[in-house]
């Protein structure tokens, strides 16, 4: 005998909630939207204003300083290929989105991660939320982004920040919790305040781990920025998207290769930052 259990209208509730937020907090969302758009435009304009060769030289110099000559040469070759394929501006647009999304994500993640490390109770709250954020299919974030912020880059940033933030939080928490107990004890024994302990001992010692988290965040941001082409984000993702719609695998792969080059460059560069500084 079948019992007629009414279907729980979970989806309806979520939609109602989102509708409510969209209408009631449109001032907030519009504010965020304007701020984000301005930020993106500023970064984008600055990067696009520079001649291609100048930006390449700048990036190569940065690579050489933080890593070495190999990465510098690699960066020049990779960027030259992107330029040659005519994908320079889409690459700049993607890079802009990644940089902006990463900055926002890190600015939110660091304090949250610190709080999670210092308070066991908040740790218990934060971790399940992070699990939720990371396991929810990334596309799902794109849908509510549109009613909030409309089609375009701002929605892409919103989805990207949510998707890419968890590792930065996790690694920050992990890094601080991994600081050896004896060092905390030493800091306490000399009469450090909480703030002194955090800024003089815990954060400096967890920096390599936090940088590993930021590296992960950047990589996730790049992957999401590409997917965000589906809701109208500019950049390499939209080149891929166009190639799919026009059934032109050659163009698709070219854009894909550009994404790979950008990813490798960002990855190697941020990993180089992680290596402990040599003693003076």
């Amino acid at each position: 005998m079948a019992i007629d259990i009414p279907r729980i209208p979970l989806g309806d509730w979520i939609e109602a909630g989102l509708d409510y937020l969209t209408t009631e907090y449109s001032v907030v969302t519009r504010g965020i939207s304007r701020f984000t758009q301005t930020g993106i435009n500023a970064i984008n304009d600055a990067l696009a204003w520079m001649p291609e060769w100048a930006l390449m030289a700048l990036i190569a110099l940065l690579c050489w300083r933080v890593s070495g000559i190999r990465l510098a040469i690699g960066s020049v070759l990779g960027l030259a290929l992107i330029w040659n394929m005519g994908l320079w501006f889409p690459m700049i647009e993607s890079l802009t989105l990644v940089v902006f999304a990463t900055i926002v994500a890190v600015v939110i993640a660091l304090p949250v991660g610190i709080v999670g490390a210092l308070s066991d109770r908040l740790y218990g709250v934060i971790m399940p939320v992070l699990d939720f954020m990371q396991t929810m299919p990334a596309f799902v974030y794109l849908i509510p982004a549109i009613p909030f912020f409309g089609i375009g880059s701002v929605s892409a940033i919103f989805a990207t920040v949510i998707f890419s933030m968890p590792p930065a939080i996790r690694f920050t928490t992990l890094g601080i919790r991994q600081v050896p107990k004896e060092l905390i004890e030493a800091a306490d024994a000399f009469g450090s305040t909480r703030g002194q302990k955090l800024f003089k001992v815990q954060l400096p010692l967890s920096l390599p781990t936090i940088m590993a988290g930021i590296n992960q965040t950047i990589m996730l941001a790049l992957s999401m920025v590409v997917i965000a082409a589906m809701i109208g984000a500019d950049g390499l993702g939209s080149e891929v998207w166009k190639a799919i719609q026009r059934l032109r695998p050659g163009d698709g792969f070219e854009a894909g290769i550009a994404v790979v080059i950008l990813a490798m460059l960002l990855d190697r560069l941020t990993q180089a930052f992680r290596k402990p500084k040599k003693a003076r």
């Binding site: 050896p180 004896e182 060092l183 004890e185 030493a186 800091a187 306490d188 024994a189 000399f190 009469g191 450090s192 305040t193 002194q196 003089k200 001992v201 400096p204 010692l205 003693a279 003076r280």
Partner: protein, 400 residues
């Protein structure tokens, strides 16, 4: 010793229960239950039970016990790295367990600096920055900080290493940094938690000597924790023996050795360490220089003058001890052109096995001014025992 000393810290009825039912655990203790029974009934561990003692201004007090005796808990209760469950700890009219968080911070900065077993240096800070840490968090200005940390580093012999990072230093040097970090702070009390236990034996001996010298110079009240009776006896002005969270005996090293309070202390001192302390092996020093049987008189003379000795042991290649040569005999032989030194060797000096009790040795010093040679069953030279104040003390303790 007999001058009137001031009490720096008074510890009264200090107890610590690890677990969630401290009240019940202490009630059970007051009913005379043992540690084991308390653990069984409450699941809580009685770390310290009713510990009372005084620390005198300027003394080096050693708290000694085996692992699990509660000594680490005790030292951490003093500056509340571990919260005591009950009891008073009074330092300069302040009762530490009653202090608010802010007062505690202030108290730690003023009164306590700590040296840790595993050094606990900050790996991202240079030696200089490590030494400055205590001053930095107190807001001492930069010039003053640099000067005082520099002074402390000089005290421990680390001049010239200011810019190095801790992991570039050996264990012994790292602990010197730990010591400098504590000294720079100029706190009134130094807490040393098994400070030398992670060092290898030779460096450890050196550090003990240096601590004694520092202590002699600066007269800083020091509480030193160790599980090693040798260490306790050689550095402590007074020793507190701790067992299962309770004090078994408080006394000078002599008291502990000669009048052990109970079987536990007696077993400790006799069974484990007494024999080691009171034999030739533990008192002997390595021989600075020896001559070979086939050396000429001039070689012998050079070795004597290089090491500023007036007599030297002669050995075979296998370090088997043949005898002793006097400087003036070698000098005469050299002038007369004698090639071999064999005739110059005499055997008119004491020699003993490594397990010879020290008080037997002490009598030998009175006959001759030579040091005592320590040899093994095959007559190989192991070292010498020289007459010295340390030996005299130990021998005295051993006679009772």
């Amino acid at each position: 010793m007999s001058e009137t000393q001031q009490t720096k810290i008074q510890v009264r009825g200090l107890s610590k229960v690890f677990g969630n039912q401290p009240k019940k655990a202490l009630e059970l203790r007051d009913k005379g239950k043992s540690r084991g029974e308390i653990l069984e009934q409450t699941g809580n561990t009685l770390g310290l039970s009713n510990v009372s003692f005084d620390v005198q201004e300027g003394e080096l007090l050693v708290i000694m016990g085996l692992s699990g005796s509660g000594k680490s808990t005790l030292i951490r209760c003093l500056n509340r790295l571990i919260e005591p469950t009950e009891g008073e700890i009074i330092i300069d009219d302040e009762n530490i367990p009653k202090l608010s968080e802010k007062e505690l911070l202030h108290c730690r900065r003023r009164h306590f600096s700590m040296v840790f077993q595993n050094f606990a240096l900050f790996p991202h800070r240079t030696v200089q920055q490590n030494a400055e840490y205590g001053l930095e968090i107190r807001g001492v200005d930069k010039q003053e900080r640099i000067r005082r940390a520099g002074d402390a580093l000089k005290q421990v012999g680390l001049e010239g290493w200011e810019g190095a990072l801790p992991n570039q230093l050996s264990g012994g040097m790292q602990q010197r940094v730990g010591l400098a970090r504590a000294l720079a702070n100029d706190s009134t009390v130094m807490l040393m938690d098994e400070a030398f236990s992670a060092l290898d034996p030779l460096i450890r001996k050196d550090m003990q000597q240096e601590l004694l010298e520092l202590q002699h110079r600066m007269k800083k009240t020091t509480i030193f924790i160790t599980h090693d009776l040798d260490e306790a006896l050689s550095i402590g002005d007074r020793i507190i023996l701790l067992k299962d969270g309770e004090i078994v005996q408080i006394g000078t090293p002599e008291d502990i050795l000669t009048n052990p309070a109970d079987d536990y202390v007696a077993r400790f001192t006799e069974g484990v360490d007494m024999s080691r302390i009171l034999t030739a092996r533990s008192a002997m020093r390595p021989v600075r220089a020896t001559a070979r049987e086939d050396d000429g008189p001039r070689t012998v003379l050079r070795k004597l003058s290089e090491n500023s000795l007036d007599s030297i042991y002669v050995t075979t290649r296998e370090r088997k001890l043949l005898g002793l040569i006097e400087a003036d005999a070698a000098d005469r032989a050299a002038k007369e052109g004698i090639q071999s030194i064999r005739e110059l060797i005499h055997n008119d000096f004491p020699r003993v096995g490594p397990d010879e009790p020290l008080h037997n040795l002490f009598a030998m010093f009175n006959e001759k001014s030579y040091p005592i040679a320590v040899v093994d069953e095959d007559q190989r030279l192991l070292g010498v025992v020289v007459k010295g104040a340390v030996l005299a003390e130990l021998a005295e303790a051993g006679e009772h």
